[in-house]
Amino acid sequence: MGEPYRERHRDTWLNTLDAVPVVEHPPRDTDWAGVRLHVVTGKGGTGKTTVAAALALALALDGRRTLLCEVEDRQGIAQLFDVAPLPYAERRIALSPGGGEVWALSIEPKAALLEYLDLFYHLGRAGKALEKMGAIDFAATIAPGIRDVLLTGKVYEAVRRRKAGTPVYDAVVLDAPPTGRIGRFLNVNESVRELARAGPVHRQAGSIMALLRSPMTVVHLVTLLEDMPVQETEDGTAELRRMGLPVGGIVINQVREQILPRPVLSEALAGRLDPAPVHAGLRAAGLTGRGHRALAATAGTELMTEGLIAQAVDHGVRVALENRLRHRLTRLERPLYEIPALSGGIDPGSLYRTVSVLREQGMA
């Protein structure tokens, strides 16, 4: 903490990866060949961090190198990979089969602001005075726009960074702010361009917008098969399109297994499931309810049959609702990816399952 800011962060802008050899890779045949920046958004809690991490791993297979960035000061990446909190510096956090690497960066707005001031205004010692007086805190809080300029600026720099003419990262994956803020976040440089009519800040903002609007960038939206996340996905997609930002894929997370075949579902929904065969099946399987006397056992099996049918109806209602929501998502006319609900939640192990799911479905 007492260490001066510049000492702490000396190596973050340009030369972290000096020691690592850089190899150029031809684009792979996936839905997003040629994309260098994957922005991942979605309603809070739908799985943005999980999907961003899985995508960064999936894109890093076959000896590639990806950077996974977070901007919300939450240490979600460190929690997911079960490592110590990330500093504001790029760190390698995972290897993928075939020698690929995932690096991670947690961009801290205040540090990024000082870095930025120094870069554009050569603040020198005044920067420290500013920090001491609470001015940095102040600027980073009162003007959320400033934060976003810095965060997007840092991401831009990572995407563009080259060594010996070759990009340092094959792809950058951004665990972005939620859908409610994504438009403002990505479009902030448009306003900056209008405010600063000329000069380095104007030019930088223009380059960032150009990258975000180019075929090198896509914005993916993560959702659940639930009403509010789907609503946000629709609203978010519309907003991004209005702003001329490229909408990528829709990732449906936590998809539950559909156990009952279609005809059974529709019978259940119509209230027409016949108890007799269920009852017979239960007896055949030796599930005759509790109770030793024959009468009690029969009553038990009847109750069980009733309960099982009621559960089938619940299941049908749920599936029907999910199908309606899935249909709404189809209407957005974007590639859909589905990640199954993993029963134990997500840990570094189950994350790799998600990675293969994304690969199989062509997202990476």
Binding site: M133, A135, Q311
Partner: protein
């Protein structure tokens, strides 16, 4: 009825006892984002009204179709009477959705002369603050609660119960902390320095400060624009003359939550993150001496079949699979096993909460297979809340 999964001595939340008690004047629903705060707030308010109370519910960010069901399409920041209560109901239900910008404007308008109010409302910094600053929504929810309370007390037939929902923050604690943060920020050192450099100290000190300030402001105005800084200065000065410090006002509003008659309902779903948040919140309430009515564990998957474990159902399904007969029974048994597995996971995470908080009254609300987007569904949630 399914087997009772709860530890014997974990108390049950008695929602009717809470809602019927005339000394309960305010119920605040808190919890992590997306757990069902708005749903539980609306369901409790409806239930209280149908049990005879005069209720107003302040919702925040309701699902679109729920808002429609409550007649809340018009977002004009005033409560409207909800139609469609059970026939013969003596109570009544008014509902509104928080408009944070409008609420902030109202605070300014009631405390400043019209001329000064206009000056503030037109200030670009105020406009940014009132519509996008993180924490403004939480703070304005409290302000609105204060206004509703004042109005309830001022009218002879006014509301006798206010139910408040809280903003969809990622952390439940934000509701309690954000107002203080906003207050502290507006009363912060840098703002003080900016708005009144002359007050800071003696002359020698002043020279040092203004030198530093010179560098600071010139650098900041380069990035923020000079106009922005002037806007902040005028805004803060104007606020100061109104409230003598924003922080005091935030503190006063906060204390409303400690008044007798206020009860907190913590809402969670049986998932680790949500229950962790609930846990923090419960501890914090104890620390602040704010009364906790209990935990609503929402969206639990209760089996509708008794005495049939996941293992037994799976084994039977496998047996049927081998014989190739009774495919329907096999499928229904698989659905059951899936539900029981889910149930077991839910109970195990929930068990961690109850283990750490054995005295917190708890109630389970089942996960409805469909949406909870009309009055009938809310009524059903109300019944389930009461069943415990």
């Amino acid at each position: 009825m399914p087997v009772d999964p709860w530890p014997e001595d974990q108390p049950r939340l008695d929602i009717d006892g809470l809602l019927d008690d005339p000394t309960t004047r305010v119920v605040v629903c808190c919890g992590a984002g997306g757990v069902g705060k708005t749903t539980i707030a609306a369901a409790s308010a409806l239930r209280a009204a149908e049990r005879g109370r005069r209720v107003v519910v302040l919702t925040i960010d309701p699902a679109r179709r729920l808002a429609q069901a409550l007649g809340l399409e018009e977002l004009d920041n005033v409560p409207r009477t909800v139609e469609g209560l059970l026939p013969g109901t003596t109570g009544r239900l008014d509902a509104m959705t928080l408009d944070m910008k409008r609420t902030f404007d109202e605070v300014i308008e009631t405390h400043a002369t019209p001329q000064k109010a206009r000056q503030i409302l037109e200030n670009p910094f105020y406009q940014a603050l009132s519509s996008s600053f993180s924490g403004t929504q939480e703070y304005m929810a409290m302000e609105k609660l204060g206004q509703l309370r004042a109005r309830a007390e001022g009218e002879p037939d006014g509301w006798d119960l206010i139910v408040v929902d809280t903003p969809p923050s990622r952390s439940a604690l934000d509701f309690l902390d954000a107002p203080g943060r906003l207050g502290a920020f507006l009363d912060g050192r840098f703002i003080k320095v900016l708005s009144a450099p002359a007050k800071v100290g003696g002359r020698a000190y002043l020279r040092v400060v203004s030198a530093a300030l010179g560098t600071a402001t010139s650098a900041l105005s380069k990035i923020l624009g000079g106009q922005m800084l002037r806007d902040v200065q005028t805004f803060v000065a104007a606020l100061d003359t109104m409230f003598g410090g924003f922080r005091e006002r935030a503190d006063r509003t906060y204390r409303l939550l400690q008044e007798p008659g206020t009860q907190f309902l913590v809402v969670a779903v049986p998932e680790q993150d949500a229950l962790r948040e609930a846990s923090y919140f419960v501890d914090r309430l104890a620390l602040e001496k704010m009364p906790l009515a209990g935990l609503v564990l929402n969206r639990v998957h209760t089996p509708r079949v008794e005495n049939l474990s996941a293992d037994r159902a799976s084994a039977a399904a496998e047996e049927l699979q081998e014989t190739g007969e009774h495919p329907l029974t096999r499928q229904l048994l698989q659905v059951h096993a899936d539900r029981m597995h889910r149930r077991e996971r839910e109970l195990s995470v929930a068990g961690r909460f109850t283990g750490a908080h054995p005295r917190v009254p708890v109630v389970h609300v089942p996960a409805h297979p469909g949406d909870v987007h009309d009055l009938e569904a809310l009524r059903q949630i109300g019944n389930e809340l009461a069943k415990g």
